[in-house]
């Protein structure tokens, strides 16, 4: 699990920049991965329609929950706040587009032809 940030002293907290950046990179990596995998699964299942996007957000939430279970017991000490963990890459174009692309590819491969 990515390293913790530096010492906490109220009210200001010290942030170790290398560790912080590494945490963010790990989060981004996981989000991308989950987007692609969930896109593949949803495509194979043949989900059609706008509610397919709901599965994307559900999967991202599951990813955040998995992170909390795995090691990040107290999110404000790894990221600055809860919001960062929940919403960081969810609406970024990279993850969304990857999800759409893989959804499309596998839907086409399995259901259209």
């Amino acid at each position: 699990m990515p390293p913790k940030k530096g010492a906490k002293s109220k009210p200001d907290e010290l942030i170790n920049p290398a560790a912080y950046k590494a945490n963010f990179q790990a989060l981004g990596f996981l989000r991308n991965f989950v987007a692609i995998i969930s896109g593949i699964v949803v495509g194979i299942c043949g989900v059609v329609g706008w509610h397919g996007f709901v599965y994307h957000f559900v999967a991202q939430l599951a990813c955040a929950a998995a992170m909390i279970l795995k090691g990040c017991t107290h999110p404000p000490s790894y990221f600055v706040s809860w919001n960062t963990l929940l919403f960081f890459g969810v609406f970024s174009s990279t993850t969304m587009l990857s999800y759409i692309l893989f959804w499309m590819i596998f839907y086409n491969l399995c259901h259209v032809f």
């Binding site: 990596f29 987007a35 495509g43 329609g49 706008w50 990279t94 587009l97 893989f102 959804w103 491969l109």
Partner: protein, 258 residues
């Protein structure tokens, strides 16, 4: 509108177009990534000693202003005199050229930018043309969700059927979708150094901001530092440090005694 009749696409299309196109684009992206890494030499650092010295002097004086509370008065005065005094460092004329001049007379930076453009943009454009030439005029797949008719020209270039469902797309639009979507996949495979085209496009939009790390205009900065240093009021925080320490210790001893 024809939403209820799903088009039946023959599996030949899938075998000969969809899968090969996907594989070809993935391979092309891999190639461009590796070419980028091979050709990407760091930009030549052509700063002379004097320029580096000036930049560092500016940094030092900024730090001096920030941390002046910790040094005694005479030390501060000595440093101030060195920087902003009569024959101080900042009164000399800076050697650094302004950024405009630097960019124009610096051929190596131009060559670098051109190299980056070449390895990045040209293969993609070329591939787009190839795709357009070979796989033109037919529908290649279906998007899994319903779209409004405004997306029709975007997804169906070259086909003018008004009754064709907007969800079906042609190979060119599929190519563009692939280009964007594979960014995510490639950022998984290569941890760093991934998306160079979007960075390049952003960089081309502000060429002035990103290009010159030397500092905007050395002369103006020298003046700024000079006035700031002269206007500073120095107060040594540690002046009464010894008395405060004695007080604190006395209090602690008293408390422990009780």
């Amino acid at each position: 509108m024809a939403g209820a009749h799903p088009l039946l696409l023959s599996s030949d299309v899938r075998d000969w177009v969809f899968i090969p196109l996907t594989l070809a684009i993935v391979l092309m992206k891999l190639l461009t990534q590796y070419m980028h890494q091979l050709f990407n030499s760091p930009p030549p650092n052509n700063k002379e000693l004097k320029e580096v010295r000036e930049m560092q002097a500016v940094t030092r004086s900024g730090r001096l202003r920030g941390a002046a509370r910790f040094i005694p008065e005479t030390s501060f005065k000595m440093r101030k005199e060195y920087f902003a005094g009569e024959k101080g460092f900042f009164t000399q004329k800076p050697v650094t050229r302004s950024p405009q001049e630097a960019m124009a007379t610096d051929p190596s930076m131009m060559v670098d930018m051109m190299k980056k453009n070449l390895t990045g943009m040209v293969p993609q454009l070329g591939m787009g043309m190839v795709v357009n030439f070979f796989f033109q005029g037919f529908v290649i797949g279906k998007v899994p969700f319903p779209l409004s008719p405004r997306f029709k020209p975007m997804l169906q270039r070259g086909i003018d059927l008004a009754s064709l469902d907007v969800s079906y797309f042609t190979s060119l639009s599929y190519y563009i979708l692939l280009l964007f979507g594979l960014r995510g996949l490639f950022s998984l495979v290569f941890r760093d150094e991934v998306v160079d085209e979007t960075e390049m496009m952003k960089r081309q939009m502000n060429p002035m901001a990103a290009a010159n790390p030397m500092g905007v205009d050395m002369e103006a900065m020298f003046k700024q530092e000079r006035t700031a240093l002269n206007a500073m009021d120095h107060e040594w925080e540690l002046e009464s440090a010894e008395e405060r320490a004695v007080d604190l210790l006395r209090r602690q001893i008293k408390a422990k005694k009780l």
